[in-house]
C-alpha cells in the first residue's frame, strides 16, 4: 500500500516507481501513471497525473530532480504526490484546484542520472548520454532546452557539469517533456524543482532583461515564498534566474515561458544546515512540507488567473 511507504527516507528509482504504482492503485479515480517516453538508457519516464475531469482541462506541470544528485528534490516530489492524493476531498483549497485543473508531476526527471547516483557516483548531476569524440559522459539537462541555447552560463566542454549538449533538446529526457507539453497542450503553469540554496525563480536565465510579466511573477513568487516561510521560517530569495543566481542559458522554465506558459517557476529547495546535496533524510518531510505551502500558493494563483 502507498500508505506504508516511508517518506522520510531516500529510495532507489525502482522503489519510487513501484510506489507510484501503489499510489495510482490506491486512488484510481484521481491518480494515473503516464509514460512520457524513455530515457537515454531506456528507463521509462513516468509522470503522475492528478485529474478529476476531462482531458481538455488546463493543467500545471511540475518536474523534480533534473539534476540527479539533488536527492531531496525527488524525495520531496514523492511526498508531494502523496499529499495531493490524500488531501483531495479533505483540503478545500487543493480540492478546488483539482476541480478546475489537472496536475502532472514528473517525480524523477532524470532517471538515468538518479540510478547512477545510487550505483556509481552519488555526485552525478547530468544525463548519461555518450558524447561522440569525448571520454566524458552526459549533458546538463537544464542547459539543453531551446531557450537561448548555447549562450552564456553553459559550457561547450563535454567534461563540464554544465555542458549544454550538441544541440537544443539533444537529450531525450528533455525532448520527452517538450513533446509531452506540446502534445497535451493547455498547460498554464510549469514548475521545476531543484535543490539547494533556497531560491524561488522566474524567467529568464539566458537574459538579464525583465520579462513582460516580471511584476506579476515577482509578486506571485514573493507570496509563495512567504507562505513557505510561514512553517519553519525558512528564508527564500525571489527573483529572475539571471538576477539572483547567474546568467544560465538553455533552462527549462525559460523554454516553458517562451512557449507561452506564463506561470513558470523554478525552486531551489532548502539547505538550512549547510549539507548541500547531502541533506539528511530527516530533513525530507520538513522540506517537502514547507515547499508544499509555496506550491499550493502558486497553484491557487494559477487557478484564479487562467488566461
Amino acid at each position: 500500500s502507498s500508505k506504508s511507504f516511508n517518506f522520510a527516507a531516500y529510495h532507489t528509482l525502482e522503489t519510487i516507481y513501484d510506489w507510484m504504482d501503489t499510489l495510482a492503485a490506491d486512488y484510481p479515480h484521481l491518480v494515473s501513471k503516464v509514460q512520457i517516453g524513455f530515457s537515454y538508457e531506456q528507463r521509462p519516464m513516468y509522470a503522475l497525473k492528478f485529474s478529476t475531469g476531462s482531458s481538455s482541462r488546463p493543467a500545471i506541470w511540475i518536474d523534480a530532480g533534473i539534476h540527479s544528485r539533488e536527492w531531496v528534490t525527488q524525495a520531496t516530489a514523492v511526498w508531494t504526490a502523496n499529499k495531493i492524493a490524500t488531501d483531495y476531498g479533505q483540503d478545500r483549497s487543493l480540492t478546488s484546484i483539482l476541480d478546475m485543473l489537472d496536475i502532472y508531476l514528473l517525480v524523477v526527471a532524470n532517471p538515468d542520472g538518479y540510478a547512477y547516483t545510487h550505483s556509481n557516483n552519488r555526485m552525478w548531476r547530468k544525463t548519461r548520454s555518450k558524447n561522440p569524440g569525448s571520454v566524458c559522459v552526459g549533458v546538463d539537462p537544464n542547459r539543453n532546452w531551446d531557450a537561448g541555447f548555447g549562450g552564456p552560463g553553459a559550457s561547450t566542454n563535454p567534461c563540464s557539469d554544465s555542458y549544454h549538449g550538441p544541440s537544443a533538446q539533444s537529450e531525450v529526457e528533455v525532448k520527452n517533456v517538450v513533446n509531452f507539453i506540446k502534445q497535451t497542450g493547455n498547460f498554464k503553469g510549469f514548475i521545476s524543482i531543484h535543490s539547494y540554496s533556497q531560491l524561488l525563480m522566474y524567467p529568464h536565465g539566458y537574459s538579464c532583461n525583465n520579462i513582460p510579466d516580471y511584476q506579476e511573477l515577482d509578486a506571485v513568487g514573493k507570496s509563495a515564498a512567504k507562505a513557505l516561510g510561514s512553517l519553519y521560517g525558512t528564508s527564500y530569495k525571489v527573483g529572475s534566474i539571471c538576477k539572483i543566481i547567474y546568467q544560465a542559458s538553455g533552462g527549462s522554465i525559460d523554454w516553458s515561458y517562451n512557449y507561452g506558459i506564463k506561470y513558470s517557476f523554478a525552486f531551489e529547495l532548502r539547505d538550512t544546515g549547510r549539507y548541500g546535496f547531502l541533506l539528511p533524510a530527516n530533513q525530507i518531510i520538513p522540506t517537502a512540507s514547507e515547499t508544499w505551502l509555496a506550491l499550493l500558493n502558486i497553484m491557487e494563483y494559477v487557478r484564479d488567473h487562467t488566461y
Binding site: N6, A9, Y10, N120, M123, D161, Y246, R274, A281
Partner: protein, 96 residues
C-alpha cells in the same frame, strides 16, 4: 563505486567582485578536479565547492594567498555518504 574519502566541501565567502574573478579563474583550473556546488557569481552569495583530498592543500593555499575567506562546510564527504547509506539500509530493513 566512486568514493570521496577525505574530500571536503568548502564554503567560500567572496568579499568583492575581484575575488569573484579570482574564484572564476579557479573554476577554469582542470587540474584541481573541483566540483562547484554553488558557483562564483556575486559577492552576496557564498560559493560551495567540493575539493578532492589531493587538491585540498593547494586550494586552501590559493584562497589564503588571495585573502579569500572560507570555512569547511563538510569535513569528509565520504563519511556523510556512508552515514546516508547506513540510513537507507536501516530504512529498507524497517520497511520489510
Amino acid at each position: 563505486q566512486k568514493r570521496f574519502i577525505g574530500d571536503q566541501v568548502l564554503r567560500i565567502e567572496p568579499g568583492s567582485n575581484e575575488q569573484i574573478s579570482v574564484l572564476q579563474s579557479l573554476q577554469e583550473e582542470d587540474d584541481f578536479q573541483l566540483d562547484f556546488w554553488l558557483h562564483p557569481t556575486n559577492p552576496d552569495l557564498p560559493v560551495d565547492v567540493r575539493v578532492p583530498i589531493a587538491s585540498l592543500q593547494a586550494v586552501k593555499d590559493f584562497l589564503e594567498s588571495n585573502g579569500i575567506r572560507y570555512s569547511v562546510m563538510i569535513s569528509d564527504v565520504q563519511e556523510m555518504l556512508e552515514q546516508e547509506q547506513k540510513e537507507m539500509e536501516a530504512n529498507r530493513r524497517m520497511e520489510r
